[in-house]
Structures are given as structure tokens and as C-alpha cells.
Symmetry: C2
Subunit: 211 residues, 2 copies
Amino acid sequence: MVNQVSATGKLRRPGGRTAEVTRRVHKAILELLIEGGVPACTIKAVAERAEIERSTLYRRFPDKWEAIIDALMAHAAADVMPDLGKAFAEDLASVLHKLKATLESPLGPALVEVAIELRANDGADYPRAYFGRRMEQLAPMFEAAIGRGELPNHVDREALFTAAAGPIYFRMFIAGRPVDEEYIASIVSSICWLYCSPSVAAKLSLPARIA
Amino acid sequence: MVNQVSATGKLRRPGGRTAEVTRRVHKAILELLIEGGVPACTIKAVAERAEIERSTLYRRFPDKWEAIIDALMAHAAADVMPDLGKAFAEDLASVLHKLKATLESPLGPALVEVAIELRANDGADYPRAYFGRRMEQLAPMFEAAIGRGELPNHVDREALFTAAAGPIYFRMFIAGRPVDEEYIASIVSSICWLYCSPSVAAKLSLPARIA
DNA sequence: TAGTTAATGCAACAGTGTGTTGCGTTTATC
DNA sequence: GATAAACGCAACACACTGTTGCATTAACTA
């Protein structure tokens, strides 16, 4: 009788119309997040944009945050990283440029806001899952660098990426300052200086200890 | 007639009862943010906690975010940094431990949430102001380190602090992972390795290029 | 292909938070 | 002490959330 999904967490008729509804809901959520951020992404607005009923959304998701998570995880799963280049420094710069572009897009603040909101409420499950997905996507970059001998086999990938991406998030959202080419280049230099093998680091024109 | 403050931005009778109302509002906002984060910090709840009228809040602040900014800026202004030690690495570690404690407190997610929310809506004025205030508070630490010869005179203080604090924010809120003693120590080592003068860096037992 | 029922559409409802306004009262300032 | 700034009070309109009962459609399966 009750159409709730919470019991199993999965729909028992995932095909056809249901799949179409899911697709439209994801599309509507992402569009609304891009257009007006989380404040614009209300259940009512999502339902209208997706041309479905509000009650359908409430029967599918416990609250709007679960719906947003669903859409963002699907979006992340479909996302692809930049093509690999010839050197780790080059690849890392590409990844950070892509990150900058994402965070500067209207979807950027929404991504961060969702992570913060969910951490404050329901723990860190979503951030961990989202971050884990991102690390998986970065695996080819790390493996290529290790294959070239630029990074040691046992490099702490998460620590490296955190040291690279953390300052970008911080500078953009916490410090409220722009992230430009030069800043990204300085991050790449620092990371390589700290993590890459001596032969790679030696080639860097890093004005070390002077930043 | 209309009691609005938005025109000048300042109250024309800031003393006595008005000052008491301001004090109670700030106290109520911080308490509510600590107890239940931004979701708990509604205009209604603030008014009840501060034992004032809702309309008074609406006449003072354009919206609840302005009220929250007011309370957080006052809180930041009254905040003090840890006492200075004998070495820059020591001081930086103290600051990062304090940051970790703040971010792990119930007020932590609220601070980030406010920064994100405001950046998405009204630009980056508040994050810049808040960050600027924090940098001012860190000035003694930098000047002491420069005085000891540990940091060069022209060190980019904002870049240094961003490289130190950014990964902590990222690891805690974006990656959803805990920040422990060891991680802070590794950050301090990395920062000193990158920014401190060679004589200081030489003393560090940083497992460089191995993380 | 037909039957079962999961999934959705529809409509009404209660509850809560936001933001505004008019008017009377208190009190800070000169 | 006079003036009006600031506040208290009360009522209002509006938007979003979340729920529920019943009708309708259509996805699965036997």
C-alpha cells in the first residue's frame, strides 16, 4: 500500500516509467542547483521542473538532501577526468584546473554546501563516498606517475590530493579570494617538491622557501 | 517612523537597552549555532532565546544571515590566538590544533556553512572580512618567526596559512575524514619545508618526497 | 497476454519559518 | 523634560515541508 522505498532502499520496479522519473529528477536537481544553488532546489521546484508530483519525491526520498545526494552521486559517476599527459605535474595541473572550473561554476558552491550540510546532520558518509569516487577517478593519474617513477609506489594519494585541492577550496570559499593560473602553478610546484622523486623535483623551478 | 537601520547601517541609539539587545542576540545566535547549527538558528528561535521580539530582529537585519554575520564577526573579534612559543613550527602547530578544535566543535560546521551560503548569495565580502580578521590575529606569529629568521621578510602569509589550513578544512568537511595529531604534524613539516629558511628546514625530520 | 500491484497522479491538510505592518510603549539622547 | 529612536505586541500574507487517502497508470510476471 504505502509506496515507501526506505525499507529496502531500492525500487522494486526500476524500469520504464520509474527510470524516466529518476532521470528527470536528477536533471531537474542539477539544473536548479546550477541556476540558484541549494536555496532554489526545493522539493516543490524539483517536482515542477521534472513534471512529476511532489508526493512522488517524498515517497522516494526521506528528505530533499537524499534526493540531492542521489543526483550528485549520479553526476559524479558520469564525470570523467582530463586526459593524461606526459608528466605528473602536467596531469595534476589539469585536474586542478578542472576542479577550479567546477568550483567556480554555479554548481560549485552547491557541492560544498551539500557536503557541509550533510556532515552537520547525518555524519560524513556522503562526503566520504563522494571523495572516494573522486579518488577512484584519479587512480590512472597516480598509476601513470608511479609507472614513470615520478611518484613512489607507496605514495599517500589521499594526502597528496588533499594537500593540492584543500588550498583551492579554502582560498575560494573560506578566504573568499580568486584562484588564478599562477596560484595553481604554485600548488603544483609545492606538491611535486614534496611528493615527487628527487629527479623530478630537481627539474622544478620552484622558488622554494620563498614561495 | 520606520525603525530600519539599513539606510545608514548603524543604530542611532547604540547605548543602554539597544546594547543589551545586541548582546543578547549575539549570545542567542552563538548558542543556537552550537546546539543545532544553522538549521536551529531561525529568527524565531533567536528572538525567543534572546527574549526579544521577532520584529526587532527584522528591523535590525535584512535577513537572518546578516544577524549571523554580526554575531560571528563579534565572536571572531573577541577571539584570541594561542600564546607564542619558541619556534615557528611550534606556533603553527598550536594554531592548527586550535583550528581543529574549533572546526570539530558544533560551531565548526556552522562557520563553514555561513561562509558557503554567503558566497553563493551575496558574494565573498564576509569570507574576505572573516579571513582578514584571522590573518590579523596571526600577525604576531609571523612577525616572531621573521624576527627569528625562520621565515623570510617577504613571505606570503596568506599563501602559507592557506596551504596549512586548507587541507584541514578539506579533509574534515570535503573528504569526511578525521584530522589527528599525526596529520597536523605532517602539515607543519610540509609547510616548514616549503616556506622556512634552509637552516630551519634542515632540522626537520620530514620524510620528504615520501610523505 | 492478462493479472497483480508497484509506482505515480491528484488533492487536501497541518505545521513551521519568513518577512511585513500598524500602533502603542519604553527609553536613550539632547 | 521633550523628542523621537528603539522596542513590544499582534495580526497578516506567503512559501516550503511533510503527510495522507484515493484514483490511475503501467512495470513485472506467471
